[in-house]
């Protein structure tokens, strides 16, 4: 087993195991310092970010919206966690010189060409669909995929099968023709 991958990253089994340790420490730390156990997750923060942005143009609308009220529009532990992900990835990529400014990713380029506009439309449309789905399912690959699976939640097993199952089907349709 190699310690490093060809592109200079860490062995994914080892990096993943370290994330497992971080997840355990995080659960302990939130229980101790915030007196409520919190689990790694990301998608709820998108609701709070949407609420914060909407408040600047329609404050009353956000205040009267049931879902925003239920989710509570504020900058909490998970919101800062999500901001931390940007910083952590930046620090790591600068340290091992893997930081790259990229406008269009490789597999997308092979299938749809170098147009930034096309990539933007795909990413925005995909993002809207994915986030409606994540909120309906009450989690994403962090909340369900990592945290839910670690707790052996029934819902997370089903959610992860759906995430990957439908992902595989749609990826075949979208990228299948040219990528073989």
């Amino acid at each position: 087993m190699k310690w490093k991958t060809e592109d200079g990253g860490w062995n994914p089994y080892i990096a993943g195991a370290l994330l497992g340790i971080l997840a355990i420490l995080s659960v302990l730390a939130t229980t101790k310092f915030m007196s409520k156990t919190s689990y790694l997750g990301a998608s709820t923060t998108f609701v709070r970010a949407a609420g914060i942005l909407e408040q600047t143009i329609a404050e009353d609308h956000v205040a009267s919206n049931e879902y925003y009220t239920k989710t509570k529009v504020l900058v909490d532990w998970q919101f800062m966690l999500v901001i931390g992900i940007v910083l952590g990835a930046f620090i790591s990529s600068i340290m091992d010189k893997s930081f790259r400014l990229e406008a269009v990713p490789p597999i997308w380029k092979e299938r749809f060409g170098t147009s930034i506009g096309k990539r933007a439309i795909g990413a925005i449309a995909g993002g809207i669909i994915a986030m409606v789905g994540a909120r309906l399912a009450d989690g994403c690959p962090s909340g369900h995929g990592l945290s839910g699976m670690m707790q052996l939640s029934t819902s997370s097993f089903v959610a992860l099968v759906m995430f990957f199952g439908v992902g595989v089907l749609v990826a075949r349709i979208v990228y299948g023709r040219r990528v073989s």
Partner: protein, 176 residues
Amino acid sequence: MNTGQWLGLVTGILFGFLLQKGRVLRFEKQIGAMLFKDMTILKFMLSSILVGMAGILLLSNFDIITLSHKPMNLGAILIGGGLFGAGWAIMGFCPGTSLGALGEGRWHAVFAIAGMVAGAALYAELYPFFKSTVLAWKDFGKIGLQDALGVSLWVIIPVFWAGTISLFFWFEKKGL
């Protein structure tokens, strides 16, 4: 910033660091897994689950922490999970990795992030509709796999470990 916010920030920095080192943030890694060409994200995710599961379930067994299962609301999990899978394949990022991808310079992730913020706002508007339909269909509640299967946790964990490690050997044999 309060204690919770600081704790979140520090945890997030470590989380993002490990995601980047594991090379799982990239579009080609996520789509690569869906096309069965590169299983890096599965190796990474499943390894973290194996380790995290052992620790978290032990800690909860001794009442040091509390579990927080997400509800097994059947229609919502099936439809929501399916929609997420479709969007994920088109966008090439999940919510957490989109932010990390931005951090490592893959700036096209801003489109994905903008789409997801718009999707969250849309969901907030659609919530009353979902609440009276999909979310009201069948909710089995916040249950663990041991409740659904009627088998002890301490049987499920070793089986899950054995199955996952066999899968890892298969990935390596196939060079995925």
